[in-house]
Symmetry: D2
Subunit: 405 residues, 4 copies
């Protein structure tokens, strides 16, 4: 496709997403008069989707200059990249990067000397730390996985600047991780395979917010769900929802589909591949491509071939294992990522956190912060307002009662 | 894409579908020795999908010659058409036919002098009747809508040959219409729009098996569902499932998404368009493109434009209405049609009905037949067998008890 | 409790039920002017609950004389029996009848020379046939189990009078069997045991309308449901709903609760008892107490004791099996039977069928009839009307379209 | 009933509950050798149910002396009270206490000079503070409502001893509040009314853990649920689950059943009563009887009468409002309280918290503590063990990965 066509298609996608992310527009309107990000250089590593374009255009409109790379080598939507490029964003990203290209692109972003880093998975943050990049005022991080890495840095007293862990906002993890990833993960699997979900025996590994969402949507489409967990409280939660709760070894030879949502590595590995049913499908909903041990899968396999992009078949002792998206995050690589409605809340948290850092970085310490409660609440109220949903308010008497004994 | 590439892609899709439709293979194996369809000419009007290719290759392997057109001007998957062509099928179909081309293609099929007609929607049957085509031994029909038309012909004593109404088999309508169309309709909507289903107010028009499936999957993805019905018993069924049951006029200005599943025409029309919310999405899951009055929508609209293929925006008095697939069946035009697992049962009914007609047409009358119970049961047992599901059997004592008083 | 107190309590219960069964009142109003049942003697064998009292008072108000016994030795609600007695009904029933008393009471009803018999389970019909009772104009039967017995009589040409099989009405089996028995069966189990349903592994034997309702409500309360079936189509239905589908022997040692809904005998028997988990609970939702082989359970058991009425513990090889209601229908014996809202539809079918027989018996043959479609439809419309639910009507154009080809 | 019969019935109920609360037995076994509570006097205000008896017998077996009153004037199960009395517990409680009697009974408990107070709602704690009772080493509190009151005391620096807020344990509020109260609240409503839940329009006020459970179980039984909230994040959660989210005034005239789960007062009041539908049912799932403004209901009403115990009818301008349990907590007054399986976890938290206080009170401050994480985790593991559920463990490599960056 020609660039002009790509740009035009990207622009339409941005408009479509923006029309479902009205919160962002409201935040722009409230802030644009003072150009709060004027002159600020931002470095972003995000999944380059139409929803992301809404955040980035907002950042530009509030005055900043943006350098952008992709948070995943396979998740770039090229029309969006072209569109953002046409709007002055420095885009270092294309579809199907090699690992080397991927890290090179992170480097390019850092070379632009960004003052605030916004990351998804913390590869950019970790590189900034490894390379001791100077001049960074603060950062934000989108994911559970990424925040864990930053907390590890903080614990070892190696964190070089304040970071706001966006994932911990209620208006982020309660909705994006659960309802967003729940829907888009199942949609990614259907898009790549067109299999019927009803009746399928699906194993969901991990019952955090992503796992809860995936399990709920799988069941909502008629699947028979088993949950694998390592945390006893989460295991009881899954049990009480009526899911089968088992060790992975107890179901490995019975399941039709496995979906990993753990943030851990080596969740499904060689010992499991050998025992799986013929025709089993493997998908990963987590950030990194190490939840399913893809390398071992390649080693164990007689021969493999591609049925269509991101749907690969591995023959192992006469049985077929279908791997989606080479073990990379299925909703972003195999589909279009999370729906705009939830990304509106997640990116409102990003946007307001970036604004917060730009205004308050001098007062902040080198640690991982929660999104300020006020921001979280503001976003919740905006979301309801744009939906036209009105809720009750406590009366003065009730407020008093809540504080009485 | 070059033809050879199309054929290769189509072949891979056929293999993928076939591996999820093992029933068809079993039926081939049981019958191939006697080449039961040897020399028989078949005329088929079906949605040309990878699942359909599995049926057609089976018909060829059992000895028949096949002429094929599409049951819908927009639903042809071109790689499948190319692949079938390469296997000797006379294919009169391409993606995005005009109405005129569509009917011309039906004509071409009839010109090949088919002896058995297999149809989806009965356009081919009705044309065969209008043009008084001779030499037809019998036919089959896939859909509720199509069977209704054939019954009307039968009632007026105008039916020219016996037809088996495949839709009425338990192993067809209970699964294809409900679980197949339920999933693929929602998937089609998500694929075209990427909107979040959770929380959306969705109006499902019609609560037959398709409507039941669509409502259930919409709810399973978190939607808030209202059902519109004209049949009081079905209305009570929807009510007891906890859906809101209302007249369409009572919800027309509150809903986010409308999905028609009625087999009727003019279900959503001018009076409704005028009152809809800004941003509303309209999709049709029924066979014909008259459930939503698309012509009126064009007339009522200031200007319209295309966001991406099959996602059109109509501006009406300052509000936007998004129409999917120009009002044509959303799961086939906007996505890939029903999953192979349910189509395995539906097409096993087609295949065994065609075999049945080829063997019994002399004894059959000019009426609409049910699928013989024995065929229905055989397919159910095969389906369970291929899943590895074992069920109990009545003991002799229990059989006797069932007949006692 | 003194009789006057019982009557007063029964009257309040009748009023409560009647206020939730407004359909019945409407039918009375429409018919009372002509006293259509004047002088007619009716013999009824029903579960004597508050909902039944609403039917019986209606029959009296329309002119008939009623003799009444219980359709189950354990299901009589004594306050209702006392109240009906005080209104002139000949009641031959009390709580906790022996089997002998139960059959004696059926005899007493027949001794009163009823002209129309209304039965639940067909024990009264079968006795009337065995004893060749004369003067019966026709009858009605409430249940699937009872209709099967009458069909067996019809098949052997032994049926002595026309019977309307009420269960086959849409407004009966779609709602009473599914939503009514679904709720009341789970409620009966909770009432007797107070166990948490969430997380429990529940085996539902039989996936007819009762089984569908029970499985759905069990899952709705958080259970992990396995379905046992003998019919392959129903087995696939259960599979597509995401239930585990297995042979009973495959789950007998893993389940926490078994619920039989089959209409068959010996569904759970000695070979199963021996393999069950310690603490397992057994309940029957079917009409007769032979689905669980209670006799064998007594024989197999070292010692048993009663925890509270209708909750008995059987010790078998050191493990405990809890049997509810001695294997009799758990929603009627252990709780109060089906909710008034569904019984309103079921008993409207009874009432209008009795009226239909009284008016048309001369034209009817000695066979099992369906409820006339007109009655079914009328009841559906009345139900919606009393709920205040309005539904759409087909336009003339749409009616015409439905008949076109 | 005679006392000996009551005791015998209570004993059987205790045994039944204990057999479903094996965790408690394990904790006894692990601690009984050292009689850790020897000589300690405990004052408990709890709902006197069979599940509570399991906790109390455990406390006795571990050496303590127990004085007991009821946490609610209407929730005492008299057989349990009799049984506990027979085991040496000083029981100051009976069914249907007046408010005065209720507070007198609290007084009696405090007169026995307890050293640790275990409360449900904090009436006992507040009285101990008001009356400046000496010698209290610490306390525990079961509920959200009660903890709020203690936090208010703490905030004003008035708290006199350390308290462990049991509700905040994961193994308490995630299960007891949600799955326990969810099931038992619906069961209480069904037990008192026998209405069909399927299709009913139910308004759930409050979407905390109790509200989440109630809404989920109501939907699981087929209800059409609207959620009323004051917290925007919880409102979005309810919206994303597909519930209608509205202000109470927007649905007050459309709903069939209202259930309050807020911990607030005056949630449903005079302005609402006047607009409700004829036949509406009101139930409260919260601790105190002030969520529904019962006093106003009495004032507004022409005349009222009792249909059966805990089901009262209020006539208001010709329409009927049915109030359950006089506005008191419906699962405990109208039914038997939460199922033993969840109370096993809740009371294991109580038991281990009491043990913790007895051992650590010297080191504790006058504040509200969380249940120590170790206790929470231990209970979760015990729960899974008794269910026979095995879960995976992180490998050493995975543990390391979780701490890496």
């Amino acid at each position: 496709m020609r660039t002009s066509e790509l740009i035009s298609r990207g622009k339409k996608s941005w408009e479509w997403a923006a029309s479902h992310m009205a919160i962002i527009n409201t935040i722009i309107s409230e802030n644009i008069a003072e150009s709060p990000l004027k002159g600020l250089k931002l470095g972003l590593s995000l999944h380059i989707t139409k929803e992301t374009s809404v955040l980035i255009i907002a950042l530009i409109r509030l005055g900043s200059k943006v350098s952008l790379c992709s948070a995943n080598p396979l998740s770039v939507q090229e029309d969006i990249a072209a569109f953002l490029s046409s709007r002055g964003v420095k885009v270092y990203a294309w579809k199907d990067e090699t690992k080397k290209e991927y890290f090179n692109n992170l480097s390019h972003v850092l070379s632009d000397r960004p003052q605030i880093l916004t990351d998804d998975g913390s590869d950019l943050h970790v590189m900034a730390h490894n390379e001791k990049i100077l001049g960074i005022l603060g950062g934000t991080e989108e994911t559970t996985s990424g925040i864990a890495r930053l907390k590890a840095l903080e614990k070892d007293a190696k964190l070089l600047y304040p970071v706001i862990g966006v994932n911990n906002a209620n208006t982020k993890h309660l909705f994006d991780n659960r309802y967003g990833t729940g829907q888009s993960t199942l949609y990614g699997i259907i898009r790549l395979t067109n299999v019927l979900i009803a009746g399928k025996h699906i194993v969901v590994c991990g019952y955090g917010y992503v796992g809860k969402g995936v399990a709920s949507r799988a069941r909502g489409l008629g699947a028979n769900v088993t949950v694998v967990e390592v945390d006893p409280v989460k295991a009881i939660e899954a049990y009480m929802e009526g899911y089968d709760v088992k060790r992975i070894n107890q179901v490995v030879d019975m399941a039709d589909i496995f979906i990993t949502c753990t943030g851990q590595k080596n969740v499904i590995t060689a010992q499991h591949f050998r025992r799986m049913k013929n025709g089993v499908i493997l998908a990963n909903a987590g950030h990194f491509d190490n939840e399913i041990d893809v390398k071992k899968l390649c080693v164990e396999t007689d021969k493999n071939y591609t049925i269509k992009p991101y749907l690969d078949c591995f023959n192992i002792h006469g049985r077929k294992i279908y791997l989606l998206c080479r073990g990379r995050v299925v909703n972003l690589v195999g589909a279009e990522g999370n729906p705009p409605e939830v990304m509106a809340m997640s990116f409102a948290n990003q946007l307001l956190s970036i604004l917060y850092i730009s205004r308050n970085h001098r007062k902040m310490q080198k640690k991982v912060y929660l999104v300020p409660e006020k921001i979280d609440l503001k976003i919740a109220n905006l979301f309801l307002k744009h939906l036209g949903i009105k809720i009750d308010k406590l009366t003065q008497l009730q407020r008093k009662y809540a504080r009485s004994y």
